[in-house]
């Protein structure tokens, strides 16, 4: 691997470097290095390059300090000045090669695992010159160039290679066909970094890249690993590539990847399992055998024990294996995955990426199965996850929220009030102010779930200022934030007592509620209406709230029912009217006013359209409104029935007596039963 290769080169010069660092001060050494790198004597340059490289390997602080001192451009200049020199005397050529090897290695070291280093190298304009080294006659120079480029390609900052251009594809194939292991590795790195679209995947398949990568599975350790990772990239979500791979050599390629899950090297085992996961996730018909599924679960859980990069990546691979798949989540549960992940979570000083990965893996495990959530809660894992809400890394904070969101999908635990407490709510509410939008949205999502607390401890949100913030966020410029904030408030409003509802209403104001009902985004409109629907449920007094400010909220609901164009919006809006119609006479008359406009301008009432809709839930909501408007014990029901009859609504209801939806049919019967209590007026 690139990093170990550099390390071995540096070993030979470590003595002189440490001697140097003891005799000069740090800043003195830096300026001295700069002078020597720009010296006219190549011997001085060579020594300076070796010293520089030796000092920055594995030391981010040094790398950053040298980048700031401007040491990357002179190194790039040395490489650029020698990269194009061709025919020379042998002795001189040897010397020049050394300069190339050392400058390339120094640049690679700057770039290795350090984005600021990659940026500095790219800014120095040396990227094309590094490619020139690949055609150098000296193999050592080729090696150094390839290693350095691979380090750059490990960063997201590296330029993408456009495979759709023929010359780029030819170049890539020349790399993959090389005898040099570092060069084929570079080819693989370019694929892993650059292949993103289905069109690119297909272009690579058509150029024979899958076959070439399969042949590299028989190669050295590094070629195998590179091949596995590239194959996963080319096959991800690409049914055609998976089919070519699985069918290749009568299934021998697939068998060899399965075999590699037993390899002695953890990284190979991880990459082989990731390749298999990609195959299964892309084409569910493959790898359905319970044996292989169980093996992958156990292998990935075991790889979490690796102290290095493999252990950092294992949780992500595990997540992609089990995500959205209850059968695999069950297997993982049976393999004691919750306990194993919890044990890792308990370790102090977890590297943020690993911490994030474990939280996400726990989130996926708890996303569907109640057995997993119960085990998670019984381990007191909630304490560790709530601590993670205040972690320095925004990725960890987001992952902690996602974990909490999945665990809190448990109605059983929501009913027990297991989430609404001082340990969880205050830090979550603070995250509503987080500078990262993704953390904000993730935090709102948890609040949305735990707000459905059935023990009525929702006042905790008010005390922490959570309601006030959610109301503010429901007016955000970002529609995802608005959507989630309204959804959380909707859940908070579910079966809430009147005092709590009034509190939210006062915070919101009638005019703001009326304006979110008419939000430009349909999915926001739907949540706003669902919120109002819950507001006017329960105590009849709550219905009065939508009549403040001249009934502007109810008017806004009526306008949306007239103008909107999705069933989901209509269903929520119709339930608002239906719930209001279950209130007092005044409330019922106000709904009539929305259903049957006063001026007869020939427009058909929207409820007729809803009663004829193909969406049974919309028909149900509409019939319930009619049932409520003609409720037998209400004094004004008869006169409303007459108006409904004149508007053609009664005859529409009668025509629905054999509705294909049993629920609609029964509600229609209820309505017709009520009509008959008023005699013949409806006929």
């Amino acid at each position: 691997m690139p990093s170990s290769a550099s390390a071995s080169v540096s070993a030979s010069v470590s003595v002189s470097a440490s001697a140097s660092s003891t005799t000069t001060t740090t800043s003195g050494a830096h300026s001295d290095l700069l002078t020597r790198l720009t010296s006219s004597e190549s011997e001085v340059q060579l020594k300076a390059l070796r010293e520089l490289k030796n000092r920055i390997i594995g030391n981010r602080t040094k790398k950053l300090s040298f980048i700031k001192l401007g040491l990357v451009p002179p190194v790039a200049a040395i490489l650029a000045s020698k990269a194009q020199v061709q025919a020379q005397a042998q002795a001189q050529a040897h010397h020049e090669s050394n300069l190339l090897v050392q400058s390339a290695a120094a640049l690679g070291s700057f770039a290795c695992g350090f984005d600021a280093g990659v940026r500095a190298v790219l800014d120095a304009g040396v990227f094309p010159n590094l490619f020139l080294l690949l055609s150098h006659p000296d193999d050592k120079v080729v090696d150094a160039g390839a290693r350095s480029l691979r380090m750059i390609y490990q960063s997201k900052l590296a330029p993408k290679c456009d495979f759709l251009q023929e010359k780029n594809m030819e170049f890539l194939l020349s790399l993959l066909n090389s005898e040099n292991e570092n060069v084929t590795g570079l080819g693989a790195s370019i694929i892993i970094h650059s292949c993103e679209t289905t069109a690119e995947q297909k272009a690579l398949c058509h150029a024979g890249v899958v076959k070439k990568l399969i042949s590299l599975l028989e190669g050295s350790l590094s070629q195998r690993d590179n091949s596995l990772e590239s194959l996963a990239t080319v096959m991800k979500n690409n049914v055609e590539a998976v089919s070519e791979f699985v069918g290749s050599e009568s299934g021998r390629a697939l068998s060899s990847v399965i075999e590699l899950t037993k390899d002695r090297y953890p990284r190979t085992r991880l990459l082989a399992s990731m390749c298999l996961i990609v195959i299964r996730n892309t084409s569910a018909c493959y790898l359905q055998d319970i044996g292989i599924k169980t093996k992958l679960v156990h292998l990935l859980l075991e790889l979490h024990d690796d102290p290095g990069q493999v252990g950092d990546e294992a949780p992500f691979a595990f997540s992609s294996l089990i995500s959205e798949k209850p059968d695999l989540q069950k297997l993982a549960f049976e393999a004691n995955a919750i306990d194993k992940l919890y044990n890792h979570l308990q370790k102090s000083q977890l590297y943020p990426k690993r911490f994030q990965g474990i939280l996400l893996a726990l989130a996926d495990l708890c996303s569907k199965l109640e057995s997993c959530r119960s085990r998670f809660l019984s381990l007191q894992a909630l304490n560790l996850v709530s601590d993670a809400l205040t972690h320095d890394s925004s990725d960890v904070r987001t992952a902690a929220c996602m974990c909490l969101r999945c665990v809190s999908r448990s109605i059983k635990n929501l009913c027990a009030g297991n989430f609404l407490n001082e340990m969880i709510v205050p830090p979550l509410v603070r995250l509503l102010d987080d500078p990262s939008t993704s953390v904000q949205v993730a935090a709102i999502s948890v609040i949305g779930n735990i707000a459905v607390d059935f023990t009525m401890r929702r006042s905790l949100f008010v005390q922490c200022g959570g309601v006030k913030q959610l109301v503010q966020l429901s007016k955000s410029m970002d529609s995802t934030v608005r959507l989630n904030a309204l959804w959380a408030l909707r859940n908070m409003m579910f079966l809430a007592d009147n005092v709590f509802k009034e509190g939210i209403f006062m915070e919101f104001t009638a005019s703001s509620l009326a304006s979110v009902i008419c939000d430009p985004e349909p999915f926001v409109q739907e949540q706003a209406l669902a919120l109002i629907r819950n507001l006017v449920d329960g105590c009849v007094k709550a219905v009065d709230l939508v009549f403040t400010e001249d009934g502007m909220i109810l008017d806004a609901v009526g306008r949306q029912l007239q103008n909107a164009s999705t069933d989901e919006i209509w269903i929520q809006g119709m339930y608002v009217l239906s719930n209001v119609a279950s209130g007092t006479e005044f409330h019922k008359e106000a709904v009539m006013h929305q259903l049957i406009p006063q001026e007869d301008n020939g427009t058909q009432s929207f409820i007729l359209k809803f009663l004829q809709s193909n969406e049974s839930q919309l028909r149900t909501a509409a019939v319930w409104a009619i049932v409520n408007l003609t409720f037998p014990s209400s004094p004004g029901s008869f006169s409303r029935l007459v108006k409904l009859h004149s508007a053609g609504i009664v005859s529409q209801i009668k025509s629905m007596v054999h509705d294909p939806c049993p629920d609609v049919k029964l509600r229609v019967r209820t309505a017709l039963g009520q009509f008959t209590t008023f005699g013949d007026c409806s006929t």
């Binding site: 999908r409 059983k412 059935f454 209400s634 629920d663 509600r667």
Partner: protein
């Protein structure tokens, strides 16, 4: 609803619309947020007694035949406050669950003995006796048969002198939202009858709320 611990007596001897293979369709009266109230007869050889009971549906997942909610017993003699329990329900949809309980100490005979207490079950009985009703299509049935099992006490400790060891055989009427049930616990009085009606909480009509977990 919890019952008093130690009222042991053996179950009595069994007494007794073609609901047309899919799940029961959604019934709006059995949706989340809906409330029911009524009584549970807890009479024993010694005395006649009925407790007032309120039920609220808190979760419903028809695809998995799952329903859950809370049950509040109001005039429980030994308790200072109403006793609230959380229950989970299995909907008999012949896909996720059949009429045979297969657990909670209920044999197929116990099952038949209880289901036959519901008049609406008579048309199904011959099919159920064969295989628990696996071949039945209940999608158009006006009744939804369920088992409700209390899982924990929400507001009192387990040392309250009450037990939730048993479970209910339940029949829900989709047309009017009424619920009938029979509590089964080999260690409690047999056939304690639960009778509930849909409530509209002082409204002149029906009201529906909703929530969504993500």
């Amino acid at each position: 609803m919890p019952v008093r611990v130690a009222e042991s007596s053996a179950p009595s001897q069994p007494s007794g619309s073609n609901c047309g293979q899919t799940s029961p369709s959604a019934c709006s009266l059995l949706s989340v947020g809906q409330a029911f109230s009524g009584t549970q007869n807890v009479s024993s050889m010694q005395k006649d007694e009925a407790w007032r009971v309120n039920v609220r549906i808190q979760g419903c997942d028809l695809e998995h035949g799952y329903l859950c909610g809370t049950m509040e017993a109001l005039n429980v003699p030994m308790a200072d406050t109403p006793v609230v329990t959380f229950w989970e329900g299995e909907i008999v949809d012949t896909k996720n669950y059949t009429f045979f309980t297969g657990k909670w100490e209920a044999t197929p005979e116990d099952d038949i003995r209880h289901w036959t207490k519901f008049p609406s079950f008579s048309a199904l009985q011959s099919y159920v006796e064969v295989d628990g009703g696996k071949s039945l299509d209940l999608s158009n049935c006006q009744y939804i048969f369920m088992r409700w099992k209390e899982q924990y006490f929400v507001n009192v400790g387990t040392d309250c002198g009450l037990t939730i060891a048993g479970f209910y055989y339940v029949c829900f009427s989709c047309s009017d939202g009424s619920i009938n049930g029979f509590y089964y616990d080999p260690n409690s009085s047999p056939f304690q009858k639960l009778e509930l009606k849909s409530t509209n909480e002082g409204r002149q009509g029906f009201s529906f709320s909703s929530y969504e977990l993500r």
